[in-house]
Symmetry: C2
Subunit: 276 residues, 2 copies
């Protein structure tokens, strides 16, 4: 048993999605597309007599991480640092879950495969109501398209074969579980149209267009994000809303050009990886 192990998991901005509930958490999930980010979450796992999670030095409760540790039958101290805010549409909860699974498997020599660990982390997110598609996207990296919901072997992914600088500004939180528990008909309708467009033309241009249209038609668009998208568009840029957070993101230098002072990173070529 190693003393500790560290995993890095990229952040994930969902551009658009449709939800697919299923009694089997490995089949439940979402379709859609998004950007994985070089800004992400670093998760260090060490054996401990009691399981606790610290994010940037503060103790927090993360139900899916508890589920992951239960599934692996371990008690561990999880210390995470995030370049991204929690609850703002960056998949931090999914990153904590997947990073904990990868690092705990190594520390405690559980001998599970990558697919098994993704399945555990995905199932933990689904059962906690904290996410439906982040984990499988974060396990892949790049600009993933989620063609079929669920974790391996059910989920099916493709990707947009490109890379880009990404800028983002967060105004606040949106509760994923409130949205997922509400009426999702509008989301499903708008999400299907967006996916169909991106599958037909898997390019960054069609992704950001489909995402912006989804944000509007799903009625998830917040007033502050709508203002920012308009400002970016006026500066000849392309922006949309991170699902689900009160967060605007733009390709290239869209937000800078519009006078914002955004964070910036790039799409991340790799999925979640062990660093030590």
């Amino acid at each position: 048993m190693s003393a500790e192990s560290t995993a890095f998991v990229p952040g994930h901005i969902t551009g658009f999605f449709t939800t697919h509930p299923d009694p089997d958490p490995t089949k439940a999930g979402s379709r859609g597309a998004g950007l994985t980010l070089s800004d992400g979450v670093r998760v260090t796992v060490a054996p401990a007599s009691e399981s606790i999670v610290e994010l940037d030095g503060e103790r927090i409760e993360v139900p899916p991480v508890d589920r992951v540790l239960d599934a692996l039958d371990v008690t561990a101290r999880i210390e995470a640092t995030a370049a991204l805010p929690l609850g703002a549409g960056f998949g931090v909860s999914g990153a904590l879950s997947l990073g904990s699974a990868l690092a705990a498997n190594r520390v405690f020599e559980r001998g599970l495969s990558a697919n098994e660990l993704v399945t555990i982390a995905h199932g933990a997110e689904v059962q906690s109501g904290t996410g439906l598609g982040d984990v499988v996207a974060q396990a892949r990296g790049g600009i993933p398209i989620r063609l079929e919901p669920g974790s391996p072997p059910h989920g099916l992914l493709d990707a947009i074969p490109n890379r880009t600088r990404v800028e983002y500004v967060t105004f606040g939180e949106v509760s994923t579980s409130d949205v997922l528990e509400g009426n999702t008909d509008q989301i499903t309708h708008a999400g299907k149209a967006a996916l169909s467009r991106v599958v037909q033309e898997p390019t960054l241009g069609s992704f950001i267009y489909a995402s912006r249209r989804f944000a509007r038609e799903s009625e998830l668009l917040t007033p502050r994000v709508a203002d920012a998208i308009r400002a970016v568009s006026d500066a000849d840029g392309q922006a949309s809303m991170a699902m689900l957070g009160d967060t605007v993101y733009a390709l290239g230098t869209g937000l800078s050009d519009a006078g914002y002072d955004p964070n910036h990173c790039v799409t991340h070529p790799a999925g979640a990886t062990l660093e030590s």
Copy 2:
């Protein structure tokens, strides 16, 4: 249309495999497992009036790359640099094919998805008789286990969730097509046993053990690699043979400890990626 685009594709050492011919090249392929390497191939594609391929400044003929360019309906100049020798079991041919597909899709704005490009590169390798499993492994990165043969949506991958330093020494070439056209019964028998072991216990230790046993039982083991494996083992290290090349590789510092002067790199966390 951009002036040029560059892709990086990790090298890939196959530890063991079984072959699965099929009239449909997207279903043909191999099962097995291997290590993708941070030593890889950088491929730059630019439009040209005649298609040519240069590797490390020398013009070469690479039939699968010609097939990729045909499939994308482009003529291009391909300039590649490789940290690895061609024909020695590192998947250089697969890397050239996949890198050409990714970069040409970007330069010529073909609008294909990542899966479509992997499928084109995999099919080109299969039809050229130059490889059966490198492309799908190199598209994934890490330490891929090929559970089902073929490219998306047929192929199915898992992975060993770990990373390691890799050392290697190349003594010479082995012709992939000669082996694949010969009697593969021994290979199939040994490969099935190796895959079963690694699926049951997806760890680096079981991978190198299964690979070594496969090299022996498949009768592919060359005398120089056999000597080197023995020397590494005598120094308490773990080594096996790269399939298919007269190449020995070891985990960690196995070959250095045994007195060799090996090249070294690490397993590559990401699959093939566009750099520009």
